[in-house]
Amino acid sequence: MTEVTQSGIAAEEVQAPADPSPRRRTWRAFRQNPLGMGSLAVIAILAVVSAAAPLIADFPSGYGEEILVGPSATHWFGTDELGRDIFAEVIWGGRISMIIGFAASFLAILIGVTVGITASYAPKLDPLLSMLVDVSLALPVLPLMILVAALVGPSVETLVLVIALFSWPEVARIVRSQALSVTRLPYVDAARTIGGSHLWIMTRHLLPAVAPVIVVAVVLTASRAVLSEAGLSFLGLGDPNSWSWGKILYNAQRSGALTIAWWATLFPSLAILLLVVSATLVSIAYNDARNPKTREA
């Protein structure tokens, strides 16, 4: 894994003009993977639908006369315990689920990459930061998330912060191990010899080298964040003022619709499944496309 990436990086550094750049080669290989492209399309559709939610359905509010009615022409996904349209809830829920997913993932990446690169570049800080990462990874994440969310009170911002605070250690660990192999390469020494500042070396030479790892981490962390959001919302720690997929599930559980109205749980679950599976497949496909061995196979 490490060697493979190194060869990719080396190619990037050489910038052979005759050869297409590694980025384009990766993209070409990615395009030939139907699973990856299909998953990317699914994510794109979900993102577009979430962004265009106001055009597709009214914000689910108030109440309706038809309580817990199964899917029909007027209510494609049926109605919930207050007679609201579950289709609209899933559409609007996708917005919050994805916003939380990407915001939390962004924050986690920001912290994780900073810690990871610092640890790899500054040998004196490494033991301390590595220990911090190890300790954070050893924490029982779900109970702590529940505790923090319960104490602070549920809101979208709380969820983003809580999920990010408990997701960065994994990113930090991957980035650190990737960056460690790069800091020992001659070009980093060269950069230092010509008097480059530490910040410049870290941002201009280390960061690009670990970029592919970060891309994968973004996708995976985001999908995990969506799952965490659904989990916390399902436990009743979601934002009561907005919709998310986990909240639809929680409402169904709380009102007792779980066993009598399959539509109240099936559609939000499918949405979560689609997003998480697609994200995972995209990251696998990207990894494969980046890897010359699998690319040539």
Binding site: Y63, Q253, L258, I260
Partner: protein, 537 residues
Amino acid sequence: MPRPSSAAWTLRALAYTFFALAVFALAGPMPANAQEPTRLAVGTTADVVNLNPLVGNSRSDTWVTNLMYPRLMQMSANGQKEPYVATDWGYSDDGLTAWMELRDDMMWSDGEPFTADDVAFTITAVTEEAIGITAGLVGGSFERARAVSPTRVEFDLTQRDGQFLTNMGFWMPIVPEHVFPEVGQVSEFANDSDWVSAGPFVMTSVERGQRYVLEAVETYPFAPGGRAAVDEVVFRVFPDVNAQALALRAGDLDLIANAIPPAIARALSADPSITLVEIPALGWAHMQYNLERPPLDDLAVRQALAHAVDYEAIRRIALQGQAGSTLSSVISPVLSFWHDDTIEEYTYDPERARALLEEAGYTDADGDGFYDGITFGLLYDQAAAEIANWAQIVRDSSAEAGIEIELTGLERNTYLARARDRDHDIYAGSWSIMEEPAAYLDLAFRDGGFINYGNVSDPEIERLLDEAQAATSPEEALGPVQAIARRINEQVYDNVLYYQEFQFAYNSDRWEGFVPQPSDLLSLVNPLSLASVHPVD
């Protein structure tokens, strides 16, 4: 009984099981075996937290300990107190002495007699150690208890208090003096082994979070034949109400102790083997406005809030019709003696709410559709299904009136802590049993009251409360009590949305003879009910 369908051939093993069961069922019921104990499985959603009946205050605690530690009185369907262990009671002419006569045939399950000493011991412990809500209800006027004979207790009171006997009679379970530690250590007593009971059952084993097993005792005078008809009652803990309902339908449970959410009740009513019993609540669901948070101290704002709630939708949709109106009064019509039907009910009228706010000088200068400064947080328990549902309706109907409501649905303990610190704009909640108006109005509306979530401080109400509490007969207290309710209604100190018609479900193919009692605290799992229930012949 489900039958294997032809499509289920992949689940062959399962089909065989069903087949075996079908053959077993066809073979007819097993002959009644004298050694086989009859067992009633009761489902609860929450674990029992405290087995000391004086300390425990959750519903699960009460259901289990009620079967061992008797209350002195029981409650009729309209909230009136009726004789149970106490056969008669009254006050002296000056109102400073109260007395109570007890049955003479009560026994503890270890053979010791149940006497007036136990009653005197219990109330002394409760008041001296200030244990639980009972201490709040009776502690104010209690001075001393004397067992003048094994069946008669007398109480010296520091002031006239017409609610003393009925409050104590219903809210205080009696514990055995010879088993519990001496006064001073009673609230610390865990009571987690070697139980002694004066009820129909005694606990024999506890598996925390799983099951609580109680066996019938031979000395329960209220049961036909002096003993409960079932040999064993098992409380099983199901944290999720959906799983609980499935267990009832599958026959793993015989009875569900907690009230069934409306959506499940509808599904269960279609099952022929399950019977639903409707029991009106003695409490109500309400919103209280924190008067210490401006502009909620402005009567016009509170009136606008009261006209911005779609009451009809809440009762019809969120409660699925299983709720009635109290006419916006803090005295529900279930308490027929006390209820005053001339009180003016708040109606859903967003236009009137807007007019009230504009008259009071509120404007929408920033044009966001809400009056400026009219934004309130609504605090509620996220896990309380009905409240969480109607909170959303309140938010949406208030928006129609230009009032912005932000939902603050919290995890239960956080919610309780916030309410205790009065850290809320609007508090939403429900009371289980509010049966003695002079007593509960005192807790909820006197300055510094235990559950005064609105921070109400109104000298007029305090004066009327004093008057109601000094009355030694209900007739005497009626006038001031109704005046308090009227004042609360006019000043919108409390906005009562509905009283609930609780639904309870049991397996009627197997069991009959439950004795329903009011509210979800007593419901079908009260001691008389479980002592009377018997298998269907």
